[in-house]
Symmetry: C2
Subunit: 476 residues, 2 copies
């Protein structure tokens, strides 16, 4: 298969970004469609990214004082009705088990769309005294939300995620936790996924069903649209009152706790694809890439080439690099294309002449730069290079994003910015009508509020006094 | 709370083993009952054991050439009917989703009780040529089997597990994989859980629904009953024919693949509890213990004690030990009892006098032996001690088990052995009637066949020619 043929398997990234995305996720074997409409199968290459994400995040959660646990998949339908906003938000998306063990169930059971209700029930049982607080737990699990239009990683009926759930003795402490975890997420997105994010409070319309306040993390994709890659919710006493999470405080008074929840999902993999990819396919940040360096033998049939490649692989693996040698019976050119499409950060080419010259050719996937590198101290070079690539990817994403942010002081300005595939910062009066108008006319939503940048005098939509500064954008 | 009061929270292990088990799992906060009947919540102390199990097993799987993936939770009911034995075995236990997104589904969906059917469907799509084989994948996930009588870890409607699914070009290779993974499990059980296991082929009656042959791992619990802690199935072409998993072989002929599957679950945690526990509660093998060494300050209010404990903790953590200092405002005696109940392998007591003498008191949970240990080279001592405890636990379990194995050459002999809470090895003619008789009269089942030990001349039950040597035991 010629290089040309190979590359044209993927739709043009500038011409049809949506098709490019679908082509990339399927052809790089990250994912496939499951037999049930709206479900996905995460294939080994995609799942390995998820494992790298989990490992890194899990360490951060534990450092932040969280412990993992596991709560049941099935939740009695009646639990949802205990928190009015929550049931309204989730009931339409729930998948319901009505029969089990060959008989009709007395009460239908929901497959968890999120676990506030069942975890709240357990917390109510476990928490007695202020000495039991704070409670900080996380679970890695699958959740189910029946969606009409689905896309792999971005919106599927079942997806994998983590959900943290905490209880605190005071409002201040719970709010502190909400912001702390928002920042844990932000550091992770930037340091590990190399994706810069805007963080901020969501509007009432966009907040989580049942939250007092939702804080979101918004990342700009290559097409200028925003992807919500994580959320952290301050739930106040909404769930503690609905589920009776009470504790005996130091002053001997029985009080309701203050709860938070925070989550991120396999959606982040969609974010990686759409934040870093290019015409050739995936560009994976080294920290999450299943293979960080692929070694391709050139003139592999010549004596000593495969052996030298394997030697190099061992050296790299010892230095902590996820390295592999591609020994398949295919041409180097074919392999170059495949590994470029699969986004492996570093390609190492090694042939008889390289061995003679005590060097290897090293190509960076992100810049496509190719350099001859001495085999003396080679592993150190590659270790450093992974760090450089990681850093450069974040910087490049940040520059690309920052060039696509505009400010607007009129509805027309907002609409023009959105039409230009940009994030638009604008003053907002805080009313639902203005927010809805941007959606109706421009298909854009309020992503987060960034009041700390300074609130403009006027609402860009209605001209009344502004109470917030909002980032408007089209979103996934 | 006095020591006496504390210990009596747990039922007598000799008097009422069942209640002892329930008391231990609940009071050590490994687990709690979920709101839906038959479900469990795995609490942080229990989940940390699962995380240690996963980490260790996952490494072994990857070394054995397996890659992780994730397949959908929901399976169309029609998939089950494609393999006749499979549907018969699992249909009665399935939980069924009939409604989702506010509407009745066209086809009801099963929550996976196991994933052969959905994974087989995907494999059929992915596999074209002999070059695509073998396929070796594993998934860590939740599964659902609606059970009438449930007990935490041992039998719950939902549980966590891993399921490996492989496809091979030949019968030999598939059978090799089945046995290879059986042995990976066996090594894990013995090296990591310190639980000796019998491995062997299951009888037709006891095999997996849809398998050609099932190989099981059977561990003796403290009460002499057997716990099946894992299974590895050779599925032949049963599933490849049902799901059309075909490949173009080297000889250009289109052939059905040969498949295997293998699984272990959170049930293993039940096995740890019932293989090592004692009157005081849990006894955890160091390799899976969430806390390997607990440091308890004595006379903590005295200057320098807490500081020295923390110093020791840092030293131990640096040496790779999961160590914690218990700084709670409770008496040392209270803490001793709690950590004994929770099965922490090593307890370290440190008071002002110990500091003066440059030593600490070290207690082994498994033997309850207490020794004064010099603080010079202390971390090395503890590292070694964890290895010794791990080794001794396996040895102790093996001796205890081997003392409870008898041979029988009559039905009476089998029944007497079972009544004495032993494993009974006996000749068997291979017929279902004889197998059923042991079950009816003695409530014992054929656990595995151990023909390699030499098949006795006669069936112990009917006296006809024996074709197998079987281990009979009562089982969980």
């Amino acid at each position: 298969m010629s290089q040309k043929q190979f590359v044209t398997q993927i739709a043009d990234i500038n011409d049809n970004f949506t098709q490019w995305y679908t082509d990339v996720v399927l052809k790089t074997e990250l994912v496939d469609y499951g037999p049930v409409k709206g479900t996905m199968v995460i294939r080994p290459y995609g799942y390995a990214i998820w494992e790298n994400i989990q490992k890194d995040m899990d360490r951060r959660f534990k450092e932040a004082g969280s412990k993992n646990a596991y709560f049941p998949l099935l939740i009695p339908m009646s639990f949802f009705t205990k928190e009015a906003e929550h049931v309204e938000g989730f009931a339409p998306e729930v998948a319901v088990v009505t029969h089990a063990g060959g008989a009709k169930l007395e009460e239908p059971l929901a497959i968890r769309p999120t676990s506030e209700t069942v975890i709240g029930t357990m917390y109510a049982k476990w928490i007695q005294s202020y000495r039991d607080l704070p409670v900080i737990m996380n679970q890695w699990c699958n959740v189910m939300r029946w969606e009409k239009t689905t896309r792999p990683f971005l919106r599927t009926s079942e997806f994998l995620w983590q959900e943290g759930h905490t209880v605190h003795a005071s409002e201040e402490e719970a709010m502190e936790e909400t912001i702390k975890m928002l920042n844990v997420y932000k550091s992770f997105m930037e340091e590990t996924l190399a994706i810069p994010v805007f963080t901020g409070r969501k509007t009432e319309k966009e907040k989580f069903a049942g939250a007092v306040a939702t804080f979101g993390l918004e990342a700009m994709m290559l097409d200028g649209k925003s992807l919500q890659v994580g959320t952290s919710h301050y739930l106040g006493q909404n769930f503690s009152k609905a589920f009776d999470i009470k504790f005996l405080d130091k002053d001997s008074a029985l009080k309701h706790g203050y709860t938070t929840s925070w989550g991120t999902s396999t959606r982040m993999i969609g974010g990686i694809i759409m934040a870093h990819g290019d015409a050739r396919g995936l560009v994976l940040p080294p920290m999450v890439a299943p293979i960080q360096a692929i070694i391709v033998p050139v003139a592999a049939h010549k004596g000593g080439v495969i052996e030298k490649c394997k030697e190099l692989e061992t050296e790299l693996v010892k230095a902590g690099i996820r390295a592999e040698t591609d020994v398949r019976d295919m041409s180097p050119g074919w392999k170059f294309n495949e590994w470029e499409m699969k986004g492996v950060p570093i390609r190492i080419e090694l042939g008889p002449r390289d061995i003679e010259n005590n060097q290897a050719m090293v190509m960076r996937r992100d810049t496509l730069e190719k350099t001859a590198v001495s085999l003396d101290g080679f592993a150190d070079y590659i270790v450093e290079l992974t760090k450089t690539v990681q850093k450069d990817l974040l910087e490049k994403s940040r520059q690309r994003r920052d060039a696509k942010i505009v400010e607007a002081d009129s509805l027309e300005g907002i609409l023009q910015g959105v039409e230009d595939k940009k994030f638009v910062k604008a003053g907002w009066c805080g009313c639902r009508e203005c927010e809805d108008k941007v959606k109706e006319v421009g298909q854009a939503t309020a992503r987060v509020m960034c009041d700390e940048e300074g609130v403009p005098e006027r609402c860009a939509i209605c001209g009344k006094k502004a109470t917030h500064k909002v980032i408007f954008a089209r979103a996934y």
